[in-house]
């Protein structure tokens, strides 16, 4: 198949490029004539939702992106945060939702590949990855196939590339039946004086193409990712790219070697919209024009047209501007790694984006306007309606022990071991905490005591009930998970997954969620340094749950003091820090209400950000003081599930007498925010405990001593004692049974 370069521009052709009539008028104004077919393709690549953020830009600007440790905020391939001693952490999260639904293995694999490339393009060696995955109902006919494909795709790419997957999320909800979410996070380490950016500098310098050859895969991918799905979505399979982790691993090593040689002036990976986006970005950022000669582009297929080359999303490719005197050295490095190296163009001073193919000029466009003049919309939105609160006292009484087993053995809270054992969690030899705890932690190579903590969080059912509180909660939970290891949360990346923004109620979810995220980030001193927006996650008019995933990074000054979730010893006191007087109250939108009573009702639990900060800072200081022997934050499933997870992680049980005259359902399953469970190595009759209690009283933090570790059972209030074996069997069985392996 060859797409000719001389196609007639018709209204149908314009529409099939995802361009609206008024957007086409804008193009005519900018170009001053009818665009060529290739130019139309370039505009569609630059102006689609995925690349231009045209519906979201207005709101993204409201997010806090600066802070004392922020070296690079949004706008580059990834965010950069200072961790001291001349080191920095480079990270970002990005979605690959649409392709992963159409072709789960390759969609997920190339999602991982894309985010890793974003990180090493900046000069960082990737040290950790996470994946936030959302699938449809477990009983939906496609779900198992999608889970199997996505998980093996994530593993297939990340394991071969050689980065440990240290955390992530896997959730199920019928609202993802037609649109799954694959949000891939990667972080890398670099020297603060060794960060590389995409801004081209200098006129007449060589623009160099590196990495894999260009094929026809992924042509039009970004445009596909900017549209709703319908029943014919399977026909889009050819728009999904194919990943080659071996080439990416070679590309990583070659790029880092090249960067160390001092040859690189600017670098940009070819991600969405490939050659087009990368070339325009490098030129526009540097106030330079770019001229590309497509006859020089390494191709793996014959008779590729200019249109196809400009829109191909073939993976594992990079574009660089190099110092001319280092050209030979650079080529030798790439040849050593068996990668293509070709000078495909040059920087110019005329601010034009010119593309030549077989002696013909197939595009000549104003480079700044291609990016800067992309349409921006202030889409109409409506305030989301808040659901009525539930009357918890009217719920039928249930046995706490039975309810706990139901939750642990259900799709939402069961162990994800089946998933993460398919990921290499130990490679690089720095993994201090692997999946299954509150956050993944890796030590900082070359430093004696420092560690980095990573967590990815969002509770979509809260966001659906109340996008503002849900947005706050996503940030707070991420911050809390990092804190629970003892890490100081530094900064976050956001991956905002929503439905069709042209519907005011969806836009309302987006606007309110951003408002909540922004407020929480400001209150918790947790700026957003990179991110990605994925809209149009809809099929036949049914949108996904609003899912603003937050990926956070924290710094542990001394990993030998790091806290883990497992009970560490018998006869230690268990303290519930940050609790309300009755320990737990909020059952609206809880997992308990949903899985035990079958009701998705009520309001989302509110997050008191000042309280959150106070409690978290206190917990972190206790961990640093060395008296905390285990720590776990409370989230889905509340107190009972957190206790069970701490017991299962170590094999040591606990007895929690419970509260007289309080509703045991709310006490044990309420999802009140801002709470942590701690075990302490101090005597509850001693002076240290008294001092601690006085300190907490002064801080306005309620932290009751709720029970004691010991035995091989979990005893919650008046409920029957549950053996750890029974807990573990329920917890570990669901996933393997579901997948049938």
């Amino acid at each position: 198949m060859t797409i000719s370069n001389t196609r007639q521009i018709t209204p149908e052709l314009i529409a099939s490029h995802g361009l609206k009539p008024d957007e086409y008028q804008r193009i005519l104004g900018l170009v001053g004539r009818e665009p060529t077919f290739t130019e139309l393709g370039i505009f569609s690549a630059m102006w689609n939702e995925h690349c231009s953020y045209k519906s979201s830009k207005k709101w993204l600007r409201t997010l806090p992106t600066k802070g004392d440790v922020v070296i690079q905020g949004p706008g580059e391939n990834a965010g950069v945060v200072d961790i001291g001693d001349g080191d920095c952490v480079v990270f970002k999260m990005e979605s690959h939702n649409h392709p992963s639904y159409i072709e789960p293995y390759q969609g997920a694999a190339t999602g991982v590949g894309g985010i890793l490339r974003d990180v090493f393009t900046m000069g960082a060696r990737p040290v950790a990855a996470m994946n936030a995955l959302r699938f449809g109902a477990p009983d939906h006919p496609k779900t198992k196939h999608l889970v199997a494909g996505v998980v093996s795709g994530v593993g297939g790419y990340g394991n071969s590339f050689g980065v440990p997957t240290v955390g992530g999320e896997v959730n199920f909800d019928p609202r993802y039946n037609g649109n799954i979410l694959v949000n891939a996070f990667a972080a890398g380490l670099a020297k603060t004086d060794g960060i590389f950016l995409s801004q081209a500098k200098g006129v007449g310098l060589p623009v160099v193409y590196l990495g894999a050859k260009t094929g026809r895969d992924g042509v039009g991918g970004a445009t596909m990712a900017s549209a709703e799905f319908d029943d014919k979505i399977d026909e889009k399979r050819p728009t999904v790219q194919v990943g080659d982790p071996f080439t990416e691993k070679c590309l990583l090593e070659a790029c880092l070697e090249l960067m160390a040689s001092g040859a690189v002036i600017a670098i940009q990976d070819m991600g969405a919209a490939g050659l087009t986006c990368s070339a325009v970005e490098m030129g526009a950022k540097g106030d330079l024009g770019i001229e590309l000669d497509l006859d020089k582009v390494p191709v793996r297929e014959e008779r590729m047209s200019a249109y196809e080359m400009m829109l191909s999303e073939s993976q594992e490719r990079m574009l660089m501007v190099l110092r001319p005197e280092k050209e030979a050295e650079a080529e030798a490095i790439f040849t050593k790694w068996g990668l293509d190296f070709a000078i495909v163009g040059k920087t110019t001073d005329d601010l034009r984006f010119r593309v030549l193919h077989q002696g013909e000029e197939v595009a000549n466009l104003p480079i700044k306007e291609l990016g800067d003049e992309a349409p921006e919309y202030d889409r109409p939105w409506v305030e989301p309606k808040k659901p009525a609160p539930i009357d918890a006292s009217a719920l039928p009484k249930v046995d706490v022990a039975d309810a706990l087993i139901t939750l642990l053995g259900g799709p939402d809270l069961s162990s994800r071991r089946w998933v993460w054992e398919q990921y290499d969690t130990m490679i690089q030899g720095n993994s201090l905490q692997r999946p299954g705890g509150d956050a993944g932690v890796v030590r900082v190579e070359g430093h004696a005591t420092k560690g980095l903590a990573f967590s990815s969080d969002v509770t979509p059912r809260y966001c659906e009930a109340d996008p503002y509180e849900g947005g706050k909660q996503a940030v707070a939970e991420c911050w809390r998970n990092l804190t629970a290891t003892g890490a100081l949360p530094l900064a976050a990346t956001d991956n905002l997954n929503f439905g069709n923004p042209e519907r005011p109620e969806i836009m309302g979810q987006f606007v309110k969620a951003i408002e909540g995220i922004g407020e929480a980030c400001r209150a918790l001193d947790f700026p957003i340094v990179s991110g990605n927006v994925s809209l149009y996650n809809e099929t036949n008019g049914q949108g996904i749950l609003p899912t603003p995933t937050i990926g956070g990074v924290g710094l542990l000054a001394d990993w030998s003091k790091m806290a883990r979730i497992g009970f560490a010893a018998e006869n230690e006191i268990i303290v519930l820090v940050g609790a309300p007087p009755s320990w737990g109250t909020h059952l609206g939108q809880s997992i308990f209400l949903r899985n035990v009573h079958g009701r998705a009702e009520g309001g989302a639990p509110p997050v008191d950000l000042a309280h959150e900060k106070r409690v978290g800072d206190h917990v972190r200081s206790l961990i640093a003081s060395g008296i905390v022997t285990a720590c776990h934050d409370l989230s889905d499933g509340g107190l009972a599930v957190a206790l069970a997870e701490m017991a299962m992680a170590s094999g040591i049980g606990a007895t929690i007498p419970g509260l007289i005259e309080a509703d045991p359902a709310a006490v044990f399953f309420g999802e009140d925010q801002g709470r942590y469970l701690l075990t302490l190595s101090i005597d509850p009759q001693g002076a240290e405990w008294e001092q601690l209690s006085a300190q907490q009283k002064k801080l306005g933090i309620f932290a009751p001593w709720i029970g004691t570790t010991g035995g091989r059972e979990l005893k919650l209030g008046e409920a029957r004692a549950i053996s750890i074996e029974e807990l573990t069997t329920a917890h570990e069985s669901w996933f393997p049974n579901f997948m049938g392996t």
Partner: protein, 222 residues
């Protein structure tokens, strides 16, 4: 003692291995690149894990045909110690330096977890710092670790004591015949194993059960 680490495109536990050897011996190993036809004078050559050449053919098949592996074979023939871990084990098998084959895991899935290993033969240069029959912890991370040998070969390597590590206590992660996790050559100077002892050598790894293997090979007293 001096060591060398073989580097091939697609290997990805090379940095782990270099770090482990450096920490244990106090000296950084020299490195050997895929096209090198000669290996410097060393006592131990290690082929680390990963996905050499993407493992797009049979795991280790392309690597086994590279110049560096011919050089490894020459050294092995002269009695130099060679360790192949994970992909390194697959490469040694594909090179014919070790008998048998490594097939896809019976689960057909990649598996990364900690297993238990029994030291089946503590009387080798690689295991002398372990106790006979000792059970150690060790991580695995592979997709094709299912060891297989025909009945005759199996009887021979079992009879010769060439099986040095077995998965213990029901932790066989891949379906290997006789729970085989690691074997040595008939001369005893080439070791291949699927698990990753280099990822369990210090406190940060949560244990150091893997350390004795390298200490044995490097002649460091336990």
């Amino acid at each position: 003692m001096k060591s060398a680490v073989v580097l091939l495109p697609g290997l990805n536990r090379d940095r782990d291995m270099i770090a482990a050897l450096t920490k244990i011996s106090g000296k950084a190993p020299v490195t050997v690149w895929e096209t090198d036809t000669e290996i410097p004078d060393v006592d131990l050559i290690v082929i680390p894990g990963g996905f050499s050449y993407g493992d797009y053919l049979r795991c280790g098949a392309i690597a086994a045909r590279m110049p560096a592996l011919r050089a490894v074979a020459e050294k092995a023939a002269k009695g130099v110690m060679v360790i192949g871990v994970c992909n390194g084990f697959q490469i040694l098998v594909e090179s014919g330096l070790l008998p048998g084959a490594l097939m896809r895991n019976t689960s057909l899935k990649f598996v990364c977890r900690e297993v238990k290993l029994q030291v089946a033969n503590a009387n080798t240069t690689f295991t002398r710092n372990y106790q006979p029959g000792q059970i150690i912890r060790c991580p695995v991370a592979h997709h094709d670790g299912n060891y297989f040998a025909d009945a005759e070969t199996l009887a021979r390597i079992e009879g010769n004591g060439q099986v040095v590590f077995r998965y213990a206590e029901g932790t066989n992660p891949n379906g290997s015949i006789n729970d085989i996790a690691g074997i040595v050559s008939d001369k005893g100077n080439v070791l291949g194993l699927m698990p990753h002892p280099e990822n369990l050598i210090e406190a940060a790894h949560g244990g150091s059960d893997g350390r004795a293997l390298f200490e044995s090979a490097l002649g460091i007293a336990a």
